[in-house]
Subunit: 469 residues, 2 copies
């Protein structure tokens, strides 16, 4: 009885301890996945401690008084993980405070003119109208994407200035205090964010787009082997696989749009200019996603219960594997060139080869596949083959979009040895990957949200964030 009680008492404690250990391990994993998170936490501590000096340092305190707390408040709400986000919020907050303060002072003056009875009524009316208009404007998608925070702060400041002015006649002084402390808070945030291990969301977007293309390439390179391995064993493969990396591309749309919106706030850094063609990144991303939908269809034939028998598949094995792996190589070349920010035509021979292989695949189907009797057994293999032919088209589209991006963003040409000679040989056999570029590839197997951040650590030195403005 006692021992059972003892066990019961130890039970909850042990469970609690287990939970604490689990939580600690989770935190450790978070930091390990992306060490920039740990650095960011330190930066936040530093920025807040810096701005607290306004309270410690007497002369400043006497100058600003209680309004100095606005500086602390500003740092807490403006300081974000990436430079684009911090700059966007900081600029929004400063500009919105400036315009709202001016408008608030004007509204207050106007209300004062109407005498003691009219003043509160007029101010309430102003607040009601401005609040309604600003709230409605926030529904406009373009404003929501870039100026939502500014609209919020505009409304906030306008209310504070015009309403508080009713009691306290030092409206202008108050507005000036609020504005100056907000400028100090915003600048502290921006400076700490940019000058200590900055995280550029533009770089993250750039890498995410390259990684997504690479994921498709990985899938296609491995697809042939995986599909025909199934045929040898006669069994559909497991549902989880290292090929599943492409799945995260299917739903990357909204994340990419947010990143592009934030990237537009960032100044020139490293090889990224101020007006970097972020919209073209979104186009490349969208075409990549279209291609990922085709891969989803291809993948469904891997796990489908209705399969063509091995003897049917083996007919198309050679040609299909060639198409798939050449497309995969082309995509990985494109990803690698994009990642290194170079103009490269290293993908073109692969695309040309994949086109030839697709023609070859069609003639194999026409000549050999039709000799089989049971059409139901032929259809899955035939569908895979025709999807692969469409993937060739997709790969070309991705290549076009990526080349356009390279020229819009003024990427430099890759080393000459890759370009001119190989351009002359569009339909040579299977082209070996250029070794200098191939060293860049790393197969991505884990399918996690934190992945794109994690991968940025593998940036080549040329891509390491650098501040030039």
């Amino acid at each position: 009885m006692t021992s059972s009680n003892h066990e019961n008492a130890a039970g909850p404690l042990t469970r609690l301890w287990g939970k604490i250990v689990g939580f600690a391990l989770k935190l450790k994993k978070l930091g390990k996945d992306d060490p920039r998170r740990i650095i960011h936490s330190f930066k936040m501590g530093l920025a807040l401690t810096l701005v607290s000096i306004f309270y410690y340092f007497k002369p400043l305190y006497e100058g600003f008084g209680l309004a100095a707390m606005w500086a602390i408040l500003t740092v807490v709400v403006v300081f974000e993980f990436t430079v684009g986000s911090t700059l966007g919020r900081g600029l929004n907050r400063m500009l919105a405070t400036l315009t709202a303060a001016a408008l608030g002072i004007g509204a207050h003056r106007l209300a004062t003119l109407s005498g003691e009875t009219g003043e509160p009524i007029l101010i309430a009316l102003f607040v009601f109208i401005i609040a309604g208009i600003v709230t409605f404007l926030r529904f406009i998608p373009q404003i929501k994407a870039r100026y939502d925070y500014g609209m919020l702060i505009f409304l906030l400041t306008f209310c504070l200035i015009s309403v508080s002015g009713y009691r306290d006649e030092e409206v202008i002084e108050m507005a000036f205090e609020r504005l100056s402390t907000i400028v100090i808070g915003s600048c502290t945030s921006v400076i700490v964010c940019i000058f200590i291990c900055p995280v550029w969301i533009g770089v993250d977007l750039h890498n995410q787009i390259a990684t997504n293309i690479e994921k498709l390439g990985n899938f296609l390179e491995g697809y042939g082997e995986e599909y025909f391995k199934v045929s040898e064993e006669g069994q559909p493969r497991d549902k989880s696989s290292i090929l599943d990396g492409y799945k995260s591309v299917l739903s990357s749309s909204s994340k990419e749009e947010t990143m592009a919106n934030l990237a537009r706030w960032e100044p020139r850094h490293g090889k990224f200019r101020f007006r970097h063609p972020w919209k073209q990144y979104l186009k490349v991303g969208s075409i990549t996603r279209q291609c990922a939908f085709k891969l989803e269809a291809l993948n469904s034939y891997l796990i489908s219960e209705i399969q063509s028998p091995p003897e049917v598949r083996s007919i198309i094995q050679e040609a299909s594997t060639a198409v798939s792996s050449e497309c995969g190589k082309a995509l990985k070349e494109l990803a690698s060139a994009l990642r290194k920010m170079t103009k490269s035509s290293a993908a073109e021979p692969h695309i040309a080869t994949s086109k030839d292989a697709a023609e070859n695949l069609k003639s194999v189907i026409r000549s050999s596949l039709s000799k089989h009797d049971d059409i139901l057994q032929i259809i899955p293999a035939g569908a895979v083959a025709s999807l692969l032919c469409e993937v060739v088209k997709c790969t070309e589209e991705i290549a076009d979009a990526a080349h356009k991006l390279a020229s819009l963003a003024h990427f430099k040409n890759a080393k000459p040895k890759v370009t001119p000679e190989q351009k002359e040989l569009p339909s040579q056999g299977i082209v070996q990957p250029v070794s200098g570029i191939d060293g860049m590839h790393h197969v991505i197997t884990i399918n996690e949200p934190s992945q794109s951040l994690q991968e940025n650590r593998n940036l080549p030195p040329a891509m390491a964030p650098r501040m030039e403005v």
Copy 2:
């Protein structure tokens, strides 16, 4: 010369006027798309005007002093479009302020004990440590999803209380003022948000899931006709079509997750309980999306350049159209039952019929399609047929998930005339849609972000938002 100058002068003015008119039309469209936006703007104005009374009303002003502006600030940042969002932010803000105020007072007391030199150092250390920890914790996905705003406010309040305490000894009074004004601001927001034309995000999510299933149903109902119309004209159809409604389902994942997270804050309303099975909505949504990927593959055969010739397609026309339209009807029945929050087995006869039709389709392929010589011409039609067979499986999965949702959410049974008799006839011929339910369907053609909001206006009276807590 003068007339040219005049034209130049009129040019910019005309263009400016054009821009103003365009902007006004855009605003009008925003309001027309979802009139709840206009109501929301009025509600925001009302809430802010209400809370401004704290400044007008003398006794209250003397009680709270300048801290009353926190109430205004709270309304601006807490008041959101939906009840779930407003409640989530309000609760986060109140709880975070409470705990941070307590911790801030504690930190301040501890620092005071260490003497005049030690005090600022100790407070700076506390701020640095707490800022670092809180910032890091915000990276945990579960915390980010529901308590991100609370963490921000916790950090903010802790800094304000502990730092300002160094100068101003009335720390406890300040903490109380801040807490009470924030409670007043939050409660004002929540009350206005709930009691004046509330927008329940749970209802929005519910409708979005039903609408998504309906979109797939619309596609499938129309697909057969569209695919074989192509065959008659011998030309691939235009790229844009009323069938494209399903495309918005492809990327709905992150939006649905956000909605489910916010819906969990909402109290009981209408037929929605407090612990409504929001997770099951996400599961239904995810399976619906899987099915949408299949439709994307089907759709690609509509616009593909390689098409089976009409004579090949006509062989499978009857069976394919039957599969497609029966799946479509089943999905639309499921969507209709979900929308009306009833348990209904009206979809089951359609599913059974579609299964029979799929078997029939397979035997048609086996017997007739294989008589053709050119296998390349058969493959597209064969692939469409095999995709349709997979869609039958998807439809069943959606039905299972929707039935599970209906039982978890305790939906009531539909009118008895639909259920028991028809359950006994799983493999009858083609079932006519139940007319009473069929009147609910409306074809959705515009593919816009605002669509899901817009559609909520078409709610049946039973679903109209109602507050029961």
